[in-house]
């Protein structure tokens, strides 16, 4: 299958990307790795008139140790996150989860920013940045603003990004070494998570348990109140709106959330 016709424009810098998006407005779609957008375009579920290709904006591909936080350029590919020594040392949860996204070919093209901006609740990295208390830096025609991950994901495939804005950086606060775990439950390794759980310290995020990735607030409260991992995990489905699809009913997903949160908490504390 082939996408409907569109006009291709390439941006070589973040500024140029913002300029192009400003020029075309709603008609334009940003193309980073393209592994979420192009399949939708081929199935003609997305028919943008203009594609602004930002995959060559090299200035947005980096992983840096900055004072107080790790800064990750939005166009850093999953493959680079997976193999980053800095992340392995400082943010192993992110490096590990990036290695679980899609398949090797997808990880060679797909980017963290593309994944976050696409905001698929079944995707791995939105849940991970939520567990990491990351801040997302976005740039638009009127400058730069910072959005906490907790406010970034607003609905099914909906984010706090304005149409003329570009996600440029993900900042993850450095913290004392805490345990982490990433539990991705699938039928096949290549599938999106039926349910996923990302744990960093006492932060617990749920993947595919609602229209957006969620923090398991009840679990976190129980932990803060001194509950054991297995006790706290019993609260995992609270406040979720698990979807029903081919891979699982809401009841099954709620059950999985409890099992996976318990396993994640136990693993992160082992």
């Amino acid at each position: 299958m082939i996408p409907a016709s569109f006009t291709y424009r390439r941006a070589d810098s973040a500024d140029q990307a913002i300029e192009l998006v400003g020029e075309y407005g709603d008609e334009a779609k940003l193309l980073a790795g393209g592994h979420s957008l192009l399949p939708l375009m081929k199935l003609r579920l997305a028919v943008p008139e203009v594609i602004v290709d930002i995959s060559r904006v090299r200035e947005l591909s980096y992983i840096r140790d900055e004072n107080g936080h790790i800064a990750i350029g939005a166009l850093t590919r999953h493959h680079d996150l997976e193999h980053s020594e800095l992340l392995a040392a400082r943010l192993p949860l992110l490096a590990h989860a990036a290695g679980e996204v899609g398949d090797p070919q997808v990880r060679h093209r797909g980017t963290i920013g593309g994944s976050l901006a696409h905001a698929d609740p079944a995707s791995d990295l939105p849940g991970v940045v939520l567990a990491l208390d990351a801040t997302l830096v976005v740039r638009g025609p009127s400058g730069t603003r910072e959005i906490p991950a907790t406010e970034f994901f607003q609905g099914l495939f909906e984010t706090a990004l304005e149409p003329d804005e570009l996600l440029t950086e993900i900042r993850v606060p450095k913290r004392a070494a805490t345990g982490w775990s990433f539990q991705k439950f699938t039928k096949r390794a290549i599938d999106w998570a039926i349910v996923g759980v990302a744990v960093q310290g006492d932060a617990v995020a749920l993947i595919n348990m609602g229209a957006t990735p969620l923090r398991a607030a009840a679990v976190e409260r129980a932990l803060a109140g001194g509950a054991s991992p297995s006790e706290a995990a019993e609260q995992a489905a609270e406040g979720t709106e698990a979807p029903a699809d081919l891979n699982g009913s809401p009841a099954y997903r709620q059950h999985l959330a409890r099992v996976l949160v318990r396993r994640a908490l136990e693993e992160s504390r082992a």
Binding site: M1, K187, I194, N247, Y252, L260
Partner: protein, 754 residues
């Protein structure tokens, strides 16, 4: 030393590994220069009346050569008046499944086709969709009102003999599902066609060039001699590329109608809804026997989902019935079948085609019986398999099993798997309440192969004057390695090294008669034909050599290693094949054979699957799969093993993952490879294959078919293993695919019921 039975790497591979195969869409032949592209417009409704089609917008698109609809069908031969359920090339009045072709557009460019197809505007008036089997049989809505019923065919026992179950200690009854799956050859369907000087040449991805020729000629009202079918490389078929589908015939029609060469390759999204599906049966099982393990009665009451049109569904149901009792000697066997039309993709052959369903049913039934009497399922099988001294054995259903060593196969596979240690490990985990439980699943199977053996297969072997050989085979490979196997057969008889043997196939012009590859028939029929043609060549050579050397034929000896004919006692004078071909005349030394057999062969085997089931999440991991698959003597072990491995994977995938699903309106919900859980390398272990060879006496090579064995044996073994892993929790059955949620639900229900 004979090359037979040795591990010869394939002669096909260097080309496939460096230049890639030439599949239909890869053809760059002069006849297709400037070919236009065909794109189908397909029904988005499961059941609807077509009230109007507006093609004007599509016609106005750039690059559009033609738009064809059901209105154009009038120029083709009318469907037989006595067939109320015939399938048109393009739907005219009514659409009966999502994906049914409604129109086609012919465009200069590939990309233009999809744009133009979107602009064909079809008005539909929705009808009630008949999606499941009960609704079909009930018949409130009929797919073909003129036929009076949705039941396409029925057969088997007319009455139920309950008395046969009355004196059994134990009787178990259960309804199970053998779900609909998608064949998904990696190459989707494809065809190309050119109409020149009143003659049609069609390139098509098929398992049977000749049957395709006949279908295309019939569909378009042409003489078979006016149609030439060529099958380039074929990227997998698995039964779903038997013959030519309506889509392929419509492509040929487009070439004839427009006068332009055309090409077509379907997308995967089309393929998953418009290529035939497989399986799709519902079984009501009843098995009875005594507590000593002896099975006395078995009943299989089945309904085959046909999908929307009668392709091969009646045949599948017949094969399932025929093979119902499997490897067991059961005094009373009763089968009954119905074939029901539904508003879903038509069902046809998929690797095994009717036999995996029979095996899955009986193997589940035997395990249910074993669980009920509390006996080890291996022991129940041992006590009921047909003993070797009963062959040839005619089943109550009328199948005549040629040769079999069923108990030996079972014992061999159990030993290789380390069955007793596995059971001990299982007991340990059960005792410890390990969240990850071990399941051990068995299946013992027999299947019928040869696919229309009486039609046989053809071979022409030609020895040329340069000492090379050309083999023309009527068989039609799509990955099996015929070029290698047939060359081995020639080398073995004629002593001509296989590098000098060229194998040609899949062209109805150079090979006037042929049948094709399906039903695990190639080696036993096509291979035998090559073998016999080589023998005939040898006999002709003997005559020619005797003549030339002025000796008696009886005094001639053939040095296979040197490829030389000599008169006994005169080792210095010999004639080589090139010389003999010269002596034979300008056409070389030729033999034509059409080998037929009036009987089928019955390969058999035994599988052990070992799974781990996470009882908290319900997720199954296949950790080992050990098999004995006995199809008689093996010509080339690497090819036979390859067939078994691929088959095991497909069978295991049906047990664990794969299922085609529809919503209540008949909309397919598994129409991409994101939603259809095609098995990947990560879900499978390496397989452990055990060799066993029991020849048949039905052909001179002693060979049976190996193509489908792995699939037939593996599905029930894996399903039984999953049930076995949680049997101690009270679970007796889990329908396929045994997805995590299904296993979790089964555990919950068993716990709630206890």
């Amino acid at each position: 030393m004979s090359i037979m039975g040795t591990r010869v790497v394939r002669v096909e591979d260097p080309r496939l590994l460096t230049a890639g195969g030439t599949y239909t869409d890869d053809l760059r032949v002069p006849e297709l220069a400037g070919a236009a592209h065909v794109t189908f417009v397909r029904s988005p409704f499961a059941h609807a009346r077509i009230t109007g089609i507006d093609i004007s917008a599509a016609q106005a698109e750039p690059g559009v050569v033609a738009v064809m609809t059901g209105q154009d069908l009038d120029e083709l031969p009318a469907p037989p008046a006595d067939n109320p359920v015939s399938e048109p090339l393009l739907a005219k009045d009514t659409v009966r499944f999502v994906g049914e072709p409604v129109a086609l557009v012919v465009t200069d460019g590939r990309y233009q086709g999809e744009d133009a197809a979107e602009l064909v505007s079809v008005d539909y008036e929705a009808l009630t969709a008949v999606v499941d089997i009960p609704a079909s049989i009930e018949g409130e809505t009929l797919l073909f009102p003129a036929s009076g019923s949705n039941v396409l065919a029925a057969g088997g026992a007319e009455t139920s003999d309950d008395a046969a179950f009355a004196d059994c200690d134990v009787v178990v009854e259960r309804t199970i599902v053998n779900q609909r799956v998608a064949p998904v050859p990696l190459e989707t369907r494809a065809a190309a066609a050119a109409w020149t000087d009143g003659k049609l040449t069609v390139w098509i991805s098929t398992q049977n060039a000749h049957w395709s020729r006949d279908a295309i000629a019939g569909g378009l009202g042409l003489e078979p001699t006016a149609v030439r079918v060529i099958t380039p490389d074929v990227g997998g078929g698995f039964g779903a590329k038997i013959g030519a589908d309506p889509d392929g015939i419509a492509v040929a029609w487009a070439a004839k109608k427009t006068g332009r060469p055309v090409r077509w390759v379907e997308s995967r999204s089309e393929n998953l809804v418009a290529m035939t599906h497989g399986r799709g049966q519902r079984h009501i099982l009843k098995i009875g026997g005594d507590r000593d393990g002896r099975i006395k009665a078995y009943r299989l009451d089945l309904v085959q989902d046909a999908g929307a049109y009668p392709r091969m569904a009646p045949l599948l149901a017949t094969l399932t019935s025929l093979m119902a009792s499997g490897v067991y000697d059961i005094p009373h066997v009763e089968t009954r079948f119905q074939v029901a039309l539904t508003n879903t993709t038509p069902i046809a052959a998929y690797r095994g085609a009717g036999r995996p369903e029979a095996t899955a049913a009986i193997e589940r039934a035997v395990d249910l019986f074993a669980a009920e009497i509390g006996m080890d399922p291996a022991e129940v099988r041992r006590r009921n398999v047909i003993p070797p001294d009963r062959f040839p054995y005619t089943t109550p259903g009328g199948a005549e099993y040629d040769t079999g060593e069923y108990a030996a196969a079972l014992d061999k596979v159990l030993a290789a798997a380390g069955y007793d240690e596995l059971r001990a490990e299982q007991a340990r985990r059960r005792e410890n309440g390990d969240p990850v439980q071990l399941g051990i699943g068995l299946s013992t199977y027999v299947e019928i192969t040869g696919g229309v053996p009486e039609a046989g297969e053809t071979a022409r072997v030609v020895v040329h004057d340069d000492g090379t050989v050309t083999v023309f085979t009527g068989s039609s490979p799509h990955g099996q390695g015929h070029a290698t196997s047939w060359a081995m057969l020639v080398q073995d008889e004629l002593g001509i090294p296989m590098e000098k043997v060229t194998v040609l196939h899949g062209d109805t012009e150079s090979i006037p008669v042929g049948i094709g590859t399906f039903g695990s028939r190639s080696l036993q029929l096509g291979g035998t034909a090559v073998h016999q043609a080589a023998l005939e060549v040898k006999e002709k050579a003997r005559e020619l050599a005797a003549n030339e050397l002025e000796a008696n034929t009886a005094d001639l000896e053939f040095d296979v290693a040197g490829g030389l004919w000599r008169v006994r006692g005169t080792p210095d004078i010999g004639l080589d094949w090139g010389r003999l071909a010269q002596l034979a005349g300008p056409d070389g030394l030729v033999a034509d054979v059409h080998f037929t057999s009036d009987k089928s062969t019955f390969p058999f085997g035994a599988h052990v699957a070992v799974v781990e089931v996470d009882t908290e999440t319900g997720k199954t991991t296949l950790v080992r799969h050990v098999t004995v698959d006995d199809a008689g003597p093996v010509l080339n072990p690497i090819l036979a093993e390859g067939q078994r491995q691929g088959g095991i994977a497909q069978g295991a995938a049906q047990a664990l993952l794969e299922e085609v699903l529809y919503d209540p309106q008949g909309n397919p919900v598994t129409s991409t490879l994101v939603d259809y859980s095609f098995v990947t390398a990560t879900e499978l272990p390496s397989f452990e294959l055990v060799q066993m060879e029991t020849p048949t006496n039905l052909n001179p090579l002693g060979v049976k078919g190996i193509g489908e064995a792995g699939t037939i044996g593996s599905t029930p073994a894996v399903q039984n293993a999953v049930v076995d892993a949680v049997a101690h929790l009270g679970v007796r059955h889990i329908d396929m695919p045994t997805t995590p949620e299904r296993v979790w639900t089964a555990i919950n229900e068993a716990r709630a019921g206890q």
